[in-house]
């Protein structure tokens, strides 16, 4: 077995005080200045920010079914490279993760890969069909211990079925993560409906199709006293509705993706489907509202919606192209660029939104913990002073559909430790 004792020298804990961190036996054994190496392998952080290992509530690992785009092994390597120690793998695989058998398969593949914890999300409805509840209890009771349920990619649009799902998962402290998209209002939709879509002649995906479902589901969750999580919030109106729902006491949490924090719908003017995603890129006004919502806590977490696709699914006409973007290996850089370097968040705030809160929403006990003695040694070292030109071809993901390819972004994940074992060291996968 490799040496699992590491001494991290000179890290800035949550961007604050400089200290050494000793990781031994899968736990944080000591934090403080000038710790003795004592046989540990020394990792020089050189002033990098130490964060609790990141947790992604929204990842597509594509296995089983689309191993040409991503596998649990490649996707979890990509996660580690992005500083993640746990990811939630969405259920829209083939077959759909709607039975104990499929979720246990994904969970087992994650354990075998070993680059990060892989927690399968269970489908809410059988086959994502939106008609019959899947066996949610069986998935909850399986070895995978599913707590997050989502038909992501599809909206649970039937109000009664959504109500039942919200109620039913209370029995095992689960949460329904809604992909808010009114289906009739978005038939054939290609991009945000507005000035750009009208000019480009691409069918519009109106903001109201997201906002109406969020409003309905917040009221439903409040009525039945359930937890609700909203996936990939993309509009200003959604932020306002969630803020209002929280003020009423509704137990709702929400996520925003890095790409919705940075990119806008005018990128579609190239007709390059690298910018095609669901929900679509919105306007600069929406981006500003999302950043404010993330800063003030209306939006609880950043989740990547990492969505790998093979090149042939993107090198095509816009309307024939697949929706989705890579996100795991650029998330922290985009958050630094949009939230930290702009003064909207400090690193403790980033840790809360990218580790602690997503772990709590997903009911993980060994992830998203504070950087403190006795806690699990899930640690990400992030060099905030680095700068890099994003190179999609060099990513650990099996796919290359990063909208940030070629952009200069700040920061670099220097190391990731999963229960004391380095999955990334010196920016390289271990």
């Amino acid at each position: 077995m490799t040496n699992t004792t590491h001494l991290i020298r000179d890290a800035r804990i949550l961007g604050g005080e400089r200290a050494d961190i000793l990781l031994r036996g899968g736990r944080i054994e000591a934090i403080g200045p000038g710790l003795a190496a004592d046989g540990a392998q020394v990792v020089d952080a050189a002033g990098a920010v130490a964060l609790p290992g990141l947790v992604d509530l929204h990842t597509h690992l594509r296995e089983p079914g689309r191993e040409d785009a991503e596998t649990v092994a490649t996707g979890s390597r990509s996660a580690a490279m992005g500083g993640y120690t746990a990811v939630f793998a969405m259920a829209n695989t083939d077959p759909v993760a709607d039975t104990a058998g499929v979720v246990e398969q994904v969970w087992r593949l994650g354990r075998e890969a070993g680059h990060c914890d892989v927690h399968p999300v269970g489908a809410v409805t059988r086959g994502l069909g939106g008609e019959h509840l899947a066996e949610l209890g069986a998935m909850a009771d399986s070895a995978a211990g599913v707590r997050v349920f989502s038909d992501d990619g599809m909206c649970v649009s039937d109000a009664l079925l959504m109500r039942r799902a919200l109620e039913y998962v209370k029995a095992f402290d689960g949460v329904v993560a809604q992909h808010a998209q009114e289906p009739r209002l978005t038939e054939g939709a290609q991009m945000n409906e507005g000035v750009v879509s009208d000019r480009l002649g691409l069918a519009g995906w109106p903001a109201v199709a997201e906002e109406a479902v969020i409003a309905r589901d917040c009221l439903l969750a409040e009525h039945v006293g359930s937890r609700l999580h909203i996936c990939h919030v993309s509009t200003k109106g959604s932020v306002q509705i969630i803020r209002w729902a929280k003020s009423r006491g509704c137990d709702v949490t929400a996520e925003v993706t890095p790409h919705h924090l940075l990119l806008t719908d005018d990128l579609a003017e190239s007709y390059d489907p690298i910018y095609k995603v669901n929900p679509p890129l919105r306007t600069a006004e929406d981006v500003e509202a999302l950043r404010e919502g993330l800063a003030d806590g209306t939006i609880d977490v950043v989740a990547t919606d990492h969505a790998p696709h093979p090149s042939e699914a993107k090198e095509t006409e816009w309307c024939h192209a697949a929706m989705g973007m890579l996100g795991l290996e650029t998330a922290l850089s985009v958050v630094q660029h949009t939230m930290v370097d702009t003064g909207l968040l400090d690193w403790a705030g980033v840790a809360r939104r990218m580790s602690e809160t997503p772990a709590r929403i997903g009911r993980l006990t060994g992830q998203g913990r504070p950087l403190a003695v006795g806690e699990p040694a899930n640690v990400t070292l992030y060099d905030t002073s680095a700068e890099r030109v994003v190179d999609a071809a060099a990513m650990a993901s099996k796919s290359m559909n990063s909208p940030f390819n070629g952009m200069t972004l700040p920061g670099r994940v220097a190391a990731t430790f999963l229960r004391g074992v380095p999955t990334v060291l010196d920016g390289k996968i271990q």
């Binding site: 290609q190 409906e193 507005g194 000035v195 879509s197 009208d198 000019r199 480009l200 002649g201 691409l202 069918a203 519009g204 109106p206 190239s270 007709y271 390059d272 042939e312 090198e315 095509t316 006409e317 816009w318 309307c319 024939h320």
Partner: protein, 308 residues
Amino acid sequence: MRHLLSAGDLTLDEATLVLDTAKELAQVGGRSVKKLPTLRGRTVVNLFYEDSTRTRISFEAAAKRMSADVINFSAKGSSVSKGESLKDTALTLQAMGADGVVIRHSASGAAHRLAEWVDGAVVNAGDGTHEHPTQALLDAYTIRERMGRLDGLRVAVVGDIRHSRVARSNVLLLNTLGAEVTLVAPPTLLPVSVRTWPCSVSYDLDEVLPKSDVVMMLRVQAERMNAAFFPTAREYSRRYGLDGDRFARMPDHAIVMHPGPMIRGMEISAEVADSPRSTIVEQVANGVSVRMAVLYLLLSGSGSGTGN
């Protein structure tokens, strides 16, 4: 001008040059030998992913009148129907040395994508619900021939604006050329952000007609009715169709246009379509001249001429 992808890419000078060139080239159509040697040795590919016989033969006639070699590539029964991607088709055309590719496609932006993948000039012959710039050019040409000018003319465009590539290109080009465009349609058939377009908007055809020098009727597809854009064809026709009574309320000098194919009885009545103030047949003839001008301006300057 390397490609013609959007009518919005044309400056006033460029658009005027196309119309003036078309005017010169139109003389060829009146000769007994309808042929110029201008594009001899150049290869033009008509890449048609949608059935559109009229547009294809218009481009084919235009290219042939200038002695270009024309290859018609129809998606049906070709490698495309076997699943070949647009990119691979583009690389094939590239390898065959196409100097120009005229593309008609059901996907908005297909011409833009193609232009990234081939070295030759790309002419957008209609892409989805985006644009149809040569249609706008031939419409502008037709208006200029009939009315003597474009600047300051009041042009009403009536019908399914939301899904119309003809409307998008016409709004952009006519605005460049100084005409005042008013779009007329039920609100369901207008884009949500239409108020940001460089034109006026009305829901009331009767109010607009007396103040129009040109009335351009657009085809309304039957499937729009099924998607609840309007209740019935009869109601659409009653509110937005150009019948004899409405025609009589237009100024005496005003003309009626239609890009075709038209649905008689739906958006336009037979008596209006066949009136001497209707330009529908002229539009077809002018289409060849305008497309000759576009191909000439894109292809004659550079590229692999005879013996190269």
